[in-house]
């Protein structure tokens, strides 16, 4: 039984779709890598799954309100909140957002921070943490929300190796707890560690286990000219997405 699914999904801004033909299902205890280039529709897909964007066509089906971890570069670093304050925001989804936080909410937030390895930094100002630590705090906030479905938008982008290792290990733990994780990235190599891979580039290119999906043809369709495939015997050994950033 699936906990996250999209059927014939087209979604975009206004009446113009920016992502079409999305068709996938993921069950409990599954990790899904959403792979695609910048501007390929990864964040748009997540916004459709959170209900922030209405489908233009097709439908999405999510078992519960997903916990969403946005890219941390969006965060306001001068905001007067601690790591604990941010983690506590995850408790707002319990239906008591108009009341002060309970002791149990606070304990859950502290526990989530411990789990992402930041218990000692609970009272540190969010903006004073490193990029990787801020990402882990955002994940702690999602853990406090206790949703069976987590959507993580580029959680490994531009963070230190220690944080990346910690976050990757956490993905396995969360999967073993029966949660469904959708993790977006444009890093082809990291996609190989997931149960399923969803390749998109303004439309769905492929969906399935990494061994089946991450072939030369699919990667070239996903990334177009933005990929360099270093191949062995017909199959890619290593594929590097070349991302162009606007300055």
């Amino acid at each position: 039984m699936s906990t996250v699914a999209a059927h014939g999904l087209s979604v975009g801004y206004g009446s113009e779709p920016v992502l079409t033909e999305v068709e996938f299902e993921a069950g409990a205890g599954t990790t899904v890598c959403v792979l695609g280039p910048n501007g390929g529709g990864k964040t748009t897909l997540f916004r459709a799954l959170t209900g922030d964007l209405e489908p233009i066509a097709g439908s999405v089906d999510v078992a519960a309100r997903p916990a969403y971890v946005a890219q941390t570069e969006r965060a306001r670093l001068d905001f007067p909140v601690s790591a604990l304050d941010v983690a506590l925001m995850g408790a707002l989804g319990s239906g008591r957002w108009w009341l002060p936080a309970r002791r149990s909410d606070r304990e859950a937030a502290l526990e989530a921070l411990e789990r992402v390895g930041l218990g000692a930094q609970a009272n540190t100002r969010f903006g004073e943490l490193s990029g990787g630590q801020r990402q882990r705090v955002s994940i702690a906030r999602a853990l406090v929300a206790a949703s069976p479905v987590l959507l993580l938008d580029e959680p490994l982008g531009g963070i230190d190796p220690a944080s990346a290792a910690s976050i990757t290990a956490l993905f396995s733990e969360l999967r073993d707890e029966g949660r469904t994780l959708l993790v977006s990235t444009h890093d082809v190599e990291s996609a190989r560690g997931f149960d399923l891979v969803l390749c998109i580039n303004r439309r769905q290119v492929a969906f399935g286990p990494p061994a089946e999906v991450l072939g030369r043809e699919v990667l070239e369709q996903t990334y177009g000219s933005e990929i360099v495939v270093l191949s062995g015997d017909g199959e890619p050994l290593r594929a590097i997405a070349v991302q162009h950033h606007e300055h």
Partner: protein, 274 residues
């Protein structure tokens, strides 16, 4: 220009009118500190300013029609808040240019209307810059109600306002109805702005709802501290403004605003030196 000799600060408590003014400014300090924190965090300072100015033509017309200027101002300010929220919900943020246009239209229209309504410019000055001297019981009751509503709003919605201000895009996925909490904040600010009109006027409401919180923002490490420092700064600014007003024989509204601006400059220098 000659300055009078410095009055004794205790003189502020001598006269009944200055005592009432001090009490009114203290109530506004409480409201301004509570709501100002979220005005600054949510980045709606320009809204707070525009909500005050938008009431000006309505107050003029209401006076001419012997209608309650406070009710007219409240209707306009709340209507403006609703319009801003609606525009935001429809994905059409009115933006700074539209807000600036509203400010110009409200100010210009109000002055033109006032030239036909009032025989002297002093009434226009009072609407634009307020007068904390000569406030009545109704003014104090309205300000007390605004302070009570602000306190209730912060207790009930403070967490949600903080989460929405911190991550506006991510708030819905946290389960926070950002549109409704935004509307509540805008409506409370609009109500509080109307409460501040008699004391500081339509043009100087930011002195109460933005400046103290902006000063507090330079030092606060948490939202609670931001609120606490904001209330303290607003109270000090009110007392200092009233004292300046007594000393220089000028209206209290502008004096409070000047005290706030001076306070911000000093705080920014202090912060830069740390």
């Amino acid at each position: 220009m000659e300055f009078a000799s410095l009055p004794n600060p205790a003189d502020l408590l001598e006269l009944r009118s200055t005592r009432i003014a001090l009490f009114e400014l203290s109530l506004l300090a409480l409201t301004g500190g509570l709501l100002g924190a979220f005005v600054v965090l949510r980045r709606i300072a320009f809204f707070a300013h525009a909500a005050g100015t938008a009431t000006f033509p309505g107050s003029v017309v209401a006076q001419a029609a012997s209608f309650s200027p406070r009710v007219a101002a409240l209707g306009l300010a709340l209507g403006y808040a609703g319009g801003v929220e609606r525009a935001g919900r429809a994905g059409r943020d009115p933006g700074d240019a539209a807000t600036g246009l509203l400010l110009v239209a409200a100010l210009g229209g109000g002055v033109i209307l006032a030239s036909d309504v009032f025989e002297s410019s002093s009434s226009v000055d009072r609407l634009l810059f307020g007068t904390a001297i000569g406030l009545g019981g109704a003014d104090l009751v309205f300000s007390a109600a605004a302070a009570a509503l602000a306190a209730l709003g912060v207790v009930l919605l403070g967490r949600a306002w903080t989460a929405v201000a911190f991550d506006p895009g991510g708030a819905p996925s946290l389960g926070v109805p950002a549109e409704r909490t935004d509307l509540a904040l805008l409506a409370l600010v609009a109500f509080a702005v109307v409460a501040a009109l008699p004391a500081v006027g339509a043009l100087l409401t930011t002195a109460v709802f933005v400046v103290p919180a902006a000063i507090a923002r330079l030092f606060a490490g948490s939202v609670r501290t931001l609120i606490a420092i904001g209330i303290g700064v607003a109270a000090l600014q009110g007392a200092a403004g009233l004292y300046l007003s007594l000393w220089l024989d000028v209206p209290p509204g502008p004096a409070v605003a000047v005290a706030g601006a001076g306070g911000y400059a000093a705080a920014a220098l202090l912060r830069a030196g740390r």
